[in-house]
């Protein structure tokens, strides 16, 4: 199987990256952070070039390289910045860049959910705890760092361990996968089963191009039975032949009955109460959110419920752990109870 990256190129990039990362970690005395970051960037660039960077017509590629460079660069800053608040802010940058990578992968819902949940909720909690737990600077040493933030513990050893793992992972990846290109998403049309679950979407897509003029709006529950087996068309009843014939003059409505000629033939022959068969418009396609919704609610309902329970338990646990233990004598408790009751 063809490898994406030649192993020696890969290993030299990784060694260079390891050198850069270990130099960027905070150390006592001279800490060559900038040099380390530059070396790390060169290593990353070398890795990308060897993976075949190609500017030009492939837009997603450019964005992939741009945002993965931002994500990894700010991740390096998260682990190397001596000030915890800045580390947390750089982590937010990592989140934003990886949500851009999610967009490159056409996972729109998860991209925005990631920003909302991570950058909006989890990281804010982190920032609050950092601010609560930082020692307030005393008068003359404003901006001084704690000793445990300035020095890291065994930077060379940690980097060595990490990059050996990385070498193992990447060799496995590049050997096992070859050039399995991510294929462009096919323009997916809904199956009839999925469309039957989305009656409002079906009727709305018809209504938006004006195809519902003079046509009876069916019951939402009945839409499924009106659809053809392949989900490509729908049977509807005409309530006002004049209005419907008028709407057939529009080109995008005419396309639903098979082009201009058949639309004219239908417009002259249509009678009130007749059943017509309309193709579903091309604009009706499965969106990311539809797929996730069905995968989440229909396929994994139990896991969803369990996730809710886990969050509740975590919240209770956090409250119980973090509250201040205040010893109250029995008498004071009784007093408080009497005071509260009376």
């Amino acid at each position: 199987m063809d490898a994406v990256v030649h192993p020696w190129v890969l290993f030299s990039c990784l060694a260079l990256g390891a050198l850069g990362v270990s130099m960027a970690l905070p150390r006592p005395r001279i800490s060559p952070q900038v040099v380390g970051a530059v070396i790390g960037a060169i290593a990353l660039g070398g890795l990308f070039v060897s993976m075949g960077i190609k500017a030009g017509d492939d837009r997603p590629e450019f964005y992939f390289y741009l945002f993965s460079a931002i994500a990894l660069g700010s991740a390096l800053r998260v682990i190397s910045h001596p000030r915890p608040v800045y580390a947390a802010l750089y982590f937010i940058l990592t989140i934003l860049a990886s949500s851009a990578l999610y967009l490159v992968l056409e996972a729109e819902f998860m991209a925005f959910a990631l920003i909302i949940i991570y950058a909006g909720a989890i990281l804010i909690t982190y920032l609050f705890v950092i601010m609560l737990a930082e020692q307030a600077p005393t008068g003359e040493e404003v901006g001084a760092l704690s000793e445990y933030d300035r020095y890291s513990r065994e930077p060379a050893l940690a980097t060595g361990v990490g990059f050996v793992l990385l070498a193992l992972l990447t060799v496995m990846l590049t050997r096992g996968l070859g050039d399995d290109t991510i294929v462009p998403q096919p323009s997916r049309t809904h199956g009839a089963a999925l469309l039957a679950e989305l009656p409002k979407k079906v009727l709305g897509s018809l209504d938006r191009i004006g195809a519902m003029d003079g046509i009876e709006t069916p019951e939402l529950a009945a839409v499924g039975s009106l659809l053809s087996a392949d989900g490509g068309s729908i049977r509807l009843t005409v309530t006002d032949a004049m209005k419907f014939a008028k709407s057939l003059e529009r080109s995008d409505v005419a396309e639903l009955v098979g082009g201009r000629e058949s639309a004219q033939a239908l417009a002259s022959a249509v009678t009130t109460g007749q059943t017509v068969r309309l193709a579903l418009p091309a604009s009706l396609h499965e969106e990311n959110i539809d797929g996730i919704g069905f995968a989440l609610i229909a396929a994994h309902p139990m896991a969803l419920e369990l996730a809710g329970v886990i969050l509740l338990m975590a919240m209770l646990g956090a409250v119980v752990l973090a509250r201040k233990q205040i010893e109250i004598a029995e008498e004071a408790k009784a007093q408080a109870a009497i005071g509260g009751g009376g």
Partner: protein
């Protein structure tokens, strides 16, 4: 002996080929680098909060890999799994930060080395 192993390894892997399109491996490599950066941070930093921040980096890497697999196989299961990963990450953040606050109250420091007596 090791030369033989390396030669065998090289024999299986052909020279690099120029590629015009993104492959699953691109995303997995980025995800692996992100994971390893988080791992290095967790091992080397001494501030408890930064250590937990680095576990979040590793969660991120796992999420990116899952989304890439989900896109590669053209289904949504991976994305749904990321929702659960986010749930666990949120629960972990809440509990871990509560523990950090608790530890900070004991010793008035965030240094992981302050708890070195647990080494035994």
């Amino acid at each position: 002996m090791s030369n033989v192993v390396i030669a065998h390894l090289l024999a299986q892997i052909s020279p690099p080929q120029p590629m015009g399109h993104l492959t699953l491996a691109h995303f997995l490599v980025v995800s692996a680098v992100l994971f390893v950066l988080g791992l290095i941070g967790f091992l080397s930093r001494r501030n408890l909060i930064i250590m937990f921040l680095c576990t979040e980096l590793m969660f991120q890497a796992a999420g990116l890999a899952l989304i890439a697999f989900s896109r590669f196989h053209l289904n949504h299961t991976g994305e749904v799994f990321v929702i659960f990963v986010l749930t666990i990450a949120a629960a972990e953040a809440a509990l871990a930060l509560a523990l950090v606050v608790l530890l900070y109250r004991r010793k008035q420091t965030l240094d992981a080395q302050a708890w070195a007596e647990l080494n035994g």
